[in-house]
């Protein structure tokens, strides 16, 4: 993948891409999180973090419209996603690429078909062009030669990368990752981090990732929200490196230092 330096500079365009306003997430009458407010800018790599069971994945499901907010709204650019009608939403969803935790590849299709499906449905490309682009996307995630394999024939890590290739199929504006490094070895996981950076830099995508992999958080994240399960509130937002250096909240410090720090605060 070549030697990559992690760009520490802020993205040039600081325009809000995703704005979450007063979001409350609930399952029925059980409130999971309330008063969530944050802004993701164009080109950000935004991390959603917090302990297990605090609602990270649920927040992601809200962002991609799989779950409706109890109150509050989610705005993309200047289009209100929460209030948008079904058709507008469908068009917006087409600009998202989503990598699910287990890859969520369609098991009855080969990898090339998995990646090619959205291309076939939403573009006028010929089957040969679709195949070329699918092969390219698979090559980008290091899976050249696996076009005709079924998901059940490859390993879990490869399924994850194939899932990423599918998420990138339509050159999305926003990439959502649910636990991208879960189940990957440290090297694969750092390669995936590099890939995410590379894609952000070269395709100009905004990235939103749910993760609690500290190495990834500091390596790629330049913005984040920290959810706390006990108070059911977001207790921090901003650059994770800043939070580590400056946050006075013991819960945030404890999390970011793997429990080594935070006792003395």
């Amino acid at each position: 993948m070549g030697s990559l330096t992690v760009p520490q500079t802020a993205p040039t365009k600081v325009r809000p891409h995703i704005t979450v306003k007063n979001l409350t997430m609930a399952y029925g009458s059980f409130v999971l999180m309330r008063d969530i407010n944050f802004t993701v800018h164009h080109g950000d790599i935004f991390i959603i973090m917090g302990g297990s069971g605090c609602g990270k994945s649920t927040l992601l499901r809200h962002l991609i419209g799989l779950k409706e907010p109890a109150t509050g709204e989610i705005v993309y650019g200047d289009v209100n996603f929460t209030r948008a009608d079904l058709q507008t939403r469908e068009l917006m969803l087409r600009r998202f690429g989503i990598l699910y935790q287990g890859g969520a590849l369609w098991s009855s299709m080969t990898l090339a078909q998995n990646v090619g499906l959205p291309l076939g449905e939403f573009t006028d490309l010929t089957p040969a062009q679709i195949r070329e682009i699918a092969a390219l996307k698979l090559a980008l995630v290091g899976l050249s030669g696996f076009e005709d394999f079924y998901p059940s024939e490859i390993s879990g890590g490869m399924q994850k990368r194939a899932g990423l290739a599918r998420a990138m199929a339509l050159d999305p504006e926003i990439l959502f990752f649910d636990e991208p490094s879960a189940g990957l070895d440290p090297i694969s996981s750092s390669l995936l981090d590099d890939l995410i950076l590379e894609l952000r830099d070269n395709l100009g995508a905004t990235v939103v990732a749910v993760t609690h992999e500290l190495a990834s958080i500091f390596a790629i994240g330049n913005n984040c929200v920290f959810l706390d399960a006990d108070s059911r509130l977001q207790i921090a937002t901003g650059d994770p490196k800043d939070l580590l250096a400056n946050s006075s909240d013991p819960r945030v410090r404890k999390f970011l230092t793997r429990g080594k720090d935070g006792g003395e605060h």
């Binding site: 006028d124 390219l136 290091g142 830099d201 395709l203």
Partner: protein, 383 residues
């Protein structure tokens, strides 16, 4: 030498032979893959036809927008160049584009990974199928053997399964199936009665409809209709449930904990279905006769009393228990097919669907074959 192809409002590519050994590829316009982008085939032809070509270089000064469409185009170009040992000078490409290209080429294609797509010759396919069937008989026997061992454990009181599971399965394949069994067997009784009435009423012997329905339901129809309902309802459910457990590695988790999946999962299912099938069959027999009576009294003008009397005088315990015995055996076959197919399920969601389909097909085939055998055997021993 100057050649241009496909200039339009969209992405375009033109080729200039700058020096003798150099080809300049000019990329211009917006390249959106959602619109029509030029195919790399044109360029490939150009590369192949040009002689004494040593290098290609790129000019992207006219390029206004690019996405994956352009990267795919360049990867194709690059493959064509490498095949002809032409060097590429990528300094004319935008940085991001160049890096993505490098990324796409960073991991070489795994050799020998492409699945063999060659179709085997006709006779080889027939041979493979035959061997496959032969092996599946072996699998079936092995499964049956494992099940026998599990039953032996059960007999010695060492079988490991949760009683609550057994009760749940019993409820699911017993009480919950009563509704559909009611409907189907009542209608089967009605159909039998109508079939008999067409002929029997010609001889003024309508009353024998009662005999026909009674013998028909108790000997065979009750058992076989219940078995077919249960294959579709419960056999498929067994296969889908066990298949999903296989996919999610729940069965592996049981095995590695030292709990035999055969005892834990299969035993309760077989026991439940073997216990419930005769009960459902008895119920179906009764409902079938009720359906026959409905036709006899309602359409053929027989009196309810006569019909009932005729039925009771025809009903023999031999027929009734013969039918119940068959139903019990069918129940065993259905549970066996469902569990076997569930255990053999592959590792994907579509495999679970296949397993359920195969379970239903297998159990219905086995039930009908068994029914034919029973008919012959019962005839020979004179029941």
């Amino acid at each position: 030498m100057n050649e241009t192809s496909n200039i339009g409002g969209q992405g375009a590519v033109s080729v200039t032979r700058a020096a003798d050994s150099n080809l300049l590829i000019k990329l211009s316009g917006p390249w959106h893959m959602t619109r029509d982008v030029p195919s790399a085939a044109i360029l490939r032809k150009e590369l192949e036809s040009a002689s004494a070509l040593k290098t290609v270089s790129f000019d992207t000064s006219g390029l206004t927008h690019w996405d994956s469409g352009l990267i795919a185009f360049l990867v194709q170009t690059s493959t064509a160049c490498r095949a002809r040992n032409i060097e590429q000078d990528r300094s004319g490409l935008p940085d991001g584009l160049r890096r993505l290209l490098e990324l796409a080429e960073a991991v070489p294609e795994k050799k020998g990974t492409r699945s063999a797509t060659a179709r085997a010759p006709f006779f080889q396919r027939i041979g493979n199928l035959t061997i496959g069937y032969g092996l599946s008989v072996g699998d079936f026997m092995a499964f049956l053997g494992d099940l026998t061992v599990a039953f032996e454990k059960l007999a010695s009181g060492n079988a490991r399964f949760r009683r609550v599971d057994l009760v749940e399965v019993i409820q699911d394949c017993g009480a919950s199936a009563v509704g559909i069994v009611t409907l189907i067997s009542f209608l089967v009784g009605v159909i039998l009665a109508f079939m008999g009435a067409v002929q029997l009423s010609q001889f003024g012997a309508s009353i024998f409809v009662a005999d026909l329905v009674c013998i028909g339901m108790t000997r065979d129809m009750g058992a076989i209709m219940t078995a077919i309902i249960m294959s579709g309802r419960t056999g498929a459910a067994f296969a889908a449930k066990l298949g999903t457990m296989k996919v999610t590695q729940e069965i592996d988790a049981l095995t590695t904990m030292g709990i035999s999946p055969m005892q834990f999962l299969v035993l309760p299912r077989v026991i439940a279905l073997v216990l419930m099938m005769p009960l459902l069959c008895l119920y179906a027999d009764f409902l079938g006769m009720l359906g026959g009576m409905f036709v006899g009294v309602g359409m053929l003008g027989l009196s309810a009393r006569n019909y009932l009397q005729e039925t009771i005088s025809t009903l023999t315990l031999t027929n009734l228990f013969g039918g119940l015995f068959k139903a019990t055996f069918y129940g065993f076959l259905i549970a066996l097919a469902g569990c076997l197919r569930g255990f053999q399920c592959g590792n994907s969601s579509s495999a679970v669907g296949d397993a359920a389909t195969q379970a239903v097909v297998m159990s219905i085939v086995m039930v009908v074959v068994a029914c034919g055998l029973f008919a012959v055997v019962f005839n020979v021993i004179g029941i």
